[in-house]
Symmetry: C2
Subunit: 342 residues, 2 copies
DNA sequence: AATAATTTCACAAAAAGTTGCACAAAGATT
DNA sequence: AATCTTTGTGCAACTTTTTGTGAAATTATT
C-alpha cells in the first residue's frame, strides 16, 4: 500500500473528529483516554498506515532510539564482527545504529564522537584509535547525559568507565606457556603499538610468563610497532640475527602470517625452526600454508556485551546513574592450536 | 569548553538584543543580514560554543544529512570494505551513515529499509539479500522522495534504477578463459544462489565461454548453492565422480578455499589435478596452502561510486529527478593469478 | 435536585530551528 | 519636500509530537 506518505496525528484527529492530543495519548495507551477511543484511534492508524515521525518525537522527548559506534576501521574483520553482533542486539531492543570510523586517527575520532553527541544519540560505544589515549569523550558524553562504553581499545584511565575487553595479559601469558610446552626456550614477541593498553597488556603477560618460566628476555627479540603488514620486515630482521628466537608470540595475526610467509620463502620450516602464535583468529587462519595458532577473542561476545551494557545504562539512566560502579567485562579467550605451534 | 549544553539561537539572540530569525539567517550567511551583524552573531556563537540542533533543523527542513546503507552482513569482508569506502566519501560530504544488516533475510531487510525511510534519511544504498528479488523499495523510497542506489546485488528489474556492479558475465567468461589457457578442458563451476543476478551472470559468462571455446558442458560439474563453507561437500562430490573436471570456476572464494583444502587432504594436487579460480580476492588468498587465483572486484571503487551517485542524486533532487536516466556503473574487475591456476 | 467527584477530552505551549511577509529606516529620485 | 527603492530586522507561522492545565460531560452522593 504505497501511501502518499505524511500521515500525521492531525489527519487522524480530523477524521475522528477529535484532536491531536487525544490521538497522541491514545497511541500511547494513556489511561486518561477511554478504551473505546483508544481502540478507534489505533484502528484508524493501522488503516491509514500511520507512522509517527521519529524526528518530531525526538525533538520533543530527547530520545531517538539511535546508538552510535566508533571503530578504527570498519573493514577490519575483527571490528566488523563486533559491530555485527552489537547491531543484532541493538536491533532487538529497537535501536538503530550509526557507525563511524576514525581511520586510526585521533582527530577524525574526536570529530565522529562530537557529531554523535550533536546528533543526540542515546549511547555511544567506542574502540579507540591507536594514538588516542587521554580522551575527553567521557566528560563530553556525561555533560550531555549520553552513556559511553569502551570496548577492546580503552583509555588509560579505563577504571572509571564501562569497558568490555579480553584478558590481554593472560593472552600473552598463555601464548608463552604454549610455546614453552612445545619446547621453545628462546621466545620473541611482535608487539603492537605501545600506546594501547591491550598491546601493553599482551606484552606484560609475555614478560611475566618468561619470568615465571625462567626464560631469558632478549630485547632484540621484541619487535615493536607491528601494525598490519610489517611482518615481512620483522621476519627479515630475525633472519639476520646471530641468535634467533625459536618461538614468536605475535600480537596480531596479519604480522604473524606475513612473517611465516617470509620465513618459509627463505627456507625455514614452521614450526620446527620457529613456532608462531598470533592473536585474533582471522577467518582463513586454518587454511594457510602453515595453519596458524591463534587466540579466538570471541568477538561476538564482545559486541553483544558492549551493546547490552550500553543499553542497560541508557535504560537505568534516571535511577542511579552516578552511583553505579563502572563495569569491566572480560570476555574469555581461547587458544586455537594449529600447525604453526604444534 | 564544557558548556552546560543547550545553547539555542534564542540565547544568542537575547544576548545580542536581536531575534532568533536574525541569528538563524546570520549563521546561514543570508545576504539580507548586514555583514556587521553576521560577524557579531558568528563571533558570539563561537564564544558560547553554540551547536545547532540537527533534530530541530531536520524537522523544519526535512534534510538530516544522514545516509542509510543496507547490506546482507556487515562482517563479510566484501561488504565491510565497501561500507568503509562509502563511509569515507559520505563523511567528506558531511553525511553520517546509518548501517543496517539484513542477515540475508528478506523480512529483516524490508524492516530495515522501512526504518530508514521512517527516519527520513536523505538517501539509501542497498545490496539485496540472496532471496530478495522483486522488492518494492524503489517505490517506497520515491514516494518519500528518497533516492536509492543498488550495489553488487541488484533487483531483477535493475534497469530502472541506479546500480553499481561488476561485470559478472565477463568475470565468468574470463575465469574460463584463464583455465583454458593453462590447459583445462573439463571445466566445472561452483555456482552461487541462482536468485541473484550477479551469480546468474557469472554462470552465463561461464557458459558462453565454454561455448565459444567448444568445450563440453557437463551438468554434473555445476555444483549449485555454494554459499559460505559448502566447498567441502562440493569437493567430496567431485572426488566421487567417474569423470572429474580438471578446472573449477568458483563463484566465491570461501567455497574455493575449503574445496582446495579437501582436495589436498585427499591427495590431489592443485593445480595439477584440478585448477581453481575464485571470486572476491579475500585478504589472505595469497598466503593459503595453495595461493588462490581470484578476481579483485575493486570494492573500494564500488563503495565510492555508490556514495557519489547517491549524493549527486540527493543534491540534484529538485531539478530533473524524474527525467534523468538511471545510471549503471560497472566497476572493472581484475584477475589476480596465483598458484591455484597457474 | 443540587453538589461533589470523577472521567474524558480540547486548547495551547513547548521543543529548536527556518522562512514568507511586513515594516521601518536610510538613501535616491524628481 | 514628497515619493520610490533599497536594505536590514522582526513578527509570526510552520515542521510533528508530547504534555500541563483546565473546561465540559458524566456519574455518584446526600
Amino acid at each position: 500500500m504505497g501511501e502518499k506518505s505524511k500521515v500525521t496525528i492531525y489527519d487522524l484527529a480530523q477524521k475522528l473528529g477529535t484532536t491531536a492530543s487525544t490521538v497522541s495519548r491514545a497511541l500511547q495507551d494513556n489511561p486518561r483516554i477511554s478504551l473505546k477511543t483508544r481502540e478507534a484511534v489505533k484502528q484508524l492508524a493501522r488503516e491509514l498506515n500511520y507512522i509517527p515521525d521519529p524526528i518530531a518525537h525526538h525533538l520533543r522527548t530527547g530520545k531517538g532510539n539511535v546508538l552510535g559506534i566508533v571503530v578504527p576501521r570498519i573493514d577490519r574483520n575483527f571490528f566488523a564482527t563486533i559491530i555485527s553482533a552489537f547491531q543484532a542486539v541493538a536491533q532487538k531492543s529497537g535501536y538503530q545504529l550509526i557507525i563511524a570510523q576514525s581511520n586510526e586517527n585521533a582527530d577524525e575520532e574526536a570529530a565522529a564522537v562530537r557529531a554523535l553527541v550533536q546528533k543526540k544519540v542515546d549511547g555511544i560505544a567506542i574502540s579507540l584509535s591507536v594514538n588516542s589515549q587521554n580522551v575527553d569523550y567521557p566528560e563530553l558524553c556525561s555533560a550531555h547525559n549520553i552513556p559511553i562504553v569502551f570496548f577492546d581499545r580503552t583509555p588509560s584511565d579505563f577504571q572509571n568507565y564501562d569497558t568490555v575487553t579480553n584478558d590481554n595479559f593472560q593472552i600473552g601469558y598463555d601464548a608463552v606457556l604454549q610455546l614453552y610446552k612445545r619446547g621453545c626456550r628462546k621466545i620473541g614477541h611482535f608487539s603492537g603499538p605501545m600506546t594501547q593498553r591491550s598491546y601493553i597488556d599482551r606484552y606484560r603477560g609475555f614478560r611475566k610468563a618468561l619470568e615465571d618460566l625462567h626464560l631469558d628476555y632478549h630485547q632484540e627479540w621484541i619487535i615493536p610497532g607491528i601494525t598490519e603488514a610489517t611482518g615481512y620486515d620483522a621476519a627479515l630482521r630475525i633472519l639476520q640475527m646471530n641468535e634467533r628466537p625459536d618461538g614468536i608470540f605475535s600480537a596480531g595475526d596479519f604480522s604473524a602470517i606475513t612473517a611465516m610467509d617470509t620465513f618459509m620463502k627463505k627456507g625455514l620450516s614452521i614450526p620446527r625452526d620457529i613456532a608462531i602464535i598470533g592473536v585474533a583468529n582471522e577467518p582463513l587462519d586454518a587454511y594457510l600454508a602453515t595453519p596458524l595458532s591463534s587466540f579466538n577473542l570471541h568477538r561476538h561476545q564482545i559486541g553483544e556485551m558492549t551493546a547490552s551494557i550500553l543499553i542497560s545504562r541508557i535504560k537505568g539512566d534516571d535511577d542511579n546513574q552516578e552511583l553505579e560502579q563502572p563495569s569491566h567485562i572480560i570476555v574469555k579467550h581461547e587458544l586455537i592450536l594449529r600447525d604453526s605451534s604444534i
